[in-house]
Amino acid sequence: MKNNRRTFIKIAGLAAAGLAVAPKATLASGGHSPVKVNKDSAHAKRWAMVIDTTKINTDEDFAPLIKACHSIHNVPDIPGNQNVKWIWTAPYEQAFPEQLNPHLDDTVKERRYALLCNHCDEPPCVRVCPTKATFKRPDGIVAMDYHRCIGCRYCMAGCPYGSRSFNWGEPREHLDLEALNPEFPTRMRGVVEKCNFCVERLAVGKMPACVDASNGAIVFGDLNDPDSSVRQVLRERFTIRRKPTAGTEPSVYYII
């Protein structure tokens, strides 16, 4: 009897130790690991974009880029001041208000500049979002989960670049329902939206739509990789970013 109790405690102790050592997953689901990253997806530690404004700087230049972006993401074209925009253009004094001087070169001043979500290192929109609908991915992309957006518009107030649009009305009323991209959803009324650096295209190994449409005027790549095309351009050319004093560290660079 005494002996039995001893062996029982010994075995119980061994079993407990074994449970502590065994990986939790094998106990829970029999080793079934249900998800992984797409095998042909593009990877980076920090995605960044460089726009060469010497090559591409008029509204006509940007029209095909904007069309490519807005058509694949089903972005509606709403007349008036409730328009939804993922990528749009502005003159120098609106794009770079802190870097303006009265005797700036006229060619620089007269160019149009493509503006989009800057996918900041320190995104204020992520900090203020109460539902975590806006979040920063490990690869630096500031993404949105429309399922969780409650339309409070704190992110719009937080963003110093005006990169976010609110769907005041039903966006499908302003879309050509025959020409929708069936691969990508539309949005519903009452959510905020913005450029997503084409995460859904990066996931299948494609470059963002505007980059593909730009004929090399926009470079896209990994900022953390010293040999990447982006870093090479940043080494060779003079670039500026929007509103440096906001301290948000944008990942969209402009060659001037």
């Binding site: 249900p34 998800v35 797409n38 690869d139 429309y146 069936p182």
Partner: protein, 127 residues
């Protein structure tokens, strides 16, 4: 002791219970029949077993949404070890290409109205 307004109260109770129990009497003739779904023509096997999909599809779709969007993991490995791209529009609806005859039949029957289609585009296209 005599009941005040006894006749009226009893009559009222009889009417009340008759109404309360009427659904059991009226509805007895009909037996519940599960809606008949239009299954995909070309495909035999869904991404998981039929029982799993019937019981867990809402949970699975909820997990898929978070895995794809928030974790950036867009490949699902099913219990048989097969890899499937996570996407409602591009995976589910490519086989189940008739929302009205597949999704809506059960959802209408069960009285649930998920808001997937406020954003996602149904395979029939939008009108």
């Amino acid at each position: 002791m005599k009941m005040q307004y006894g006749a009226a109260i009893v009559a009222g109770l009889v009417v009340f219970f008759a109404l309360l129990l009427s659904p059991f009497v009226v509805g007895k003739a009909k037996t519940y029949k599960q809606p008949e779904l239009k299954l995909p023509v070309g495909e035999k096997q869904c991404i998981e077993s039929t029982e799993f999909m019937r019981r867990e599809h809402m949970q699975l779709l909820n997990d898929w949404r978070d895995w794809a969007l928030r974790d950036g993991k867009r490949t699902y490995i099913n219990h048989a070890g097969k890899e499937i791209t996570i996407s409602l529009q591009n995976t589910c609806m490519k086989c189940h290409n008739n929302k009205a005859e597949f999704c809506d039949k059960c959802h209408d029957d069960a009285g649930v109205s998920p808001y997937c289609w406020d954003c996602h585009i149904q395979p029939e296209g939008l009108k």
